[in-house]
Amino acid sequence: MLEVTLDKSKLQELLKLLGTDRRLVAPVVDKLGTVFSEITDPSLVCLEAVNTNLSPKETVFPQWETLYTFEGNQIDKAELQIEETVLFGVRPCDARAFELLDRVFTWDGVNDPYYLKRREKTLVVALACNAPGEACFCTSVGGSPASESGADVLGFDLGDCLLLRALTDRGKTLLNSVSSLTTAATEEEKKAAQNAASEAEKLLKPVAVPEDLAALKESFDAEMWKELGLKCLGCGVCAYACPTCHCFDITDEARKGAGRRVRSWDTCAFSLFTLHGSGHNPRTTQDERYRQRVLHKFLYCRENFGEAFCVGCGRCVASCPAGLDLRAVLERLASTAKVT
């Protein structure tokens, strides 16, 4: 396994090299915390925050994109031009989310070309966490502060240097391309990286996540959803900030018979999400919709993909304007075999 060390004083140079002939996307300071942004000036990169305000899923699944343009009956499916991109400074939870999204966008052999093209062109350089963020609980949902899932390279912040570990062939190629700046990692440094990871894990507060699928199914009729539905405002913050949420809407924008078909983020929390063309809406109350969000992530996705669609990043908890706490909901679901 290729592991190299980069002295932090050379970080700017590394970023410049990574950004040569490629698009570099990394966290920068924004009005609220940090945000992943395309950068040309590496000095703007800020890796201090545990995580960014919104997840990096925008890189492979943007808030909106044009599927094709049309004029009358002529459809123009222009070849999607995606630049080679390095996504730098992704936390392991968000990297793991990419692996989960991969499953959705290739489900049942139906391959989403828009997502896959972007994913294929994006090299993920993850950065392990030394401490948890505001509401992190990655270890409770099968992740860890040093998880290797979904990334090409995993970095460890060892104080005055970064240890970089290649996880895939692409990652190896990437590290080889910057070998002028790095040195082979020493045994000490490798141990330090391992320690940092296990220390970080200890700092996490565990959350009881329901594993019993049968009990989760029964919770469908539980009373608890009523108050949660009253609290939930039905906005899109949790789903939009979430690295694994992937629902989208398709709409047309046209003028005089010419225009474009676009796909944009959608969320099951919106009241119109399940509105049928007939006017019927199977989920008319917010408690049904909130229940759907939670059960989709922890029951239906387990049934469909074998894993819960939550990486424990905590963004939904930190950003929810209604003060809902998914961790508390999960604990409640997990606590009793027969949930009320």
Binding site: E65, T66, T69, E71, A78, R255, A258, R260
Partner: protein, 153 residues
Amino acid sequence: MTEKKGEKTSGNGWEPRIVAFLCNWCSYAGADLAGVSRIQYPPNVRVIRVPCSGRINPLFVVKALQTGADGVLVSGCHPGDCHYISGNLYARRKFALLKSLLEYVGIEPERVQFSWVSAAEGVRFAEILGKVIEAVRAVGPASKMVKELEEVT
């Protein structure tokens, strides 16, 4: 697309496109009178007839700007003369807020203008329209709020 982006620059043969929302009973009749009297005025206007200036949803004006109108004129009956008694009086308050907000966000004030024109004021209607068109010509083609559909992410 019927209009390519490059065409819409001042001095490239660009002509202002004004959308005029005219109330049926006064301003539209006034515009009609201008036509019947063969009063010449520039052809840069698209008229949209509404029953009353009170029918104007401020979103009509915002939407017109979004779809590429270079300017919008909204015109109704003089206060006190509204066919529906007070429609224009309610509208006046909405228009005041809309005008102020649009200039506040940075839309050139020349682009959205309001008037009271009665059914007898054919000459005046043509004059007002002429002034609006020239004012919009001076500030150039609209671009700030315009939604371009050629754009692909």
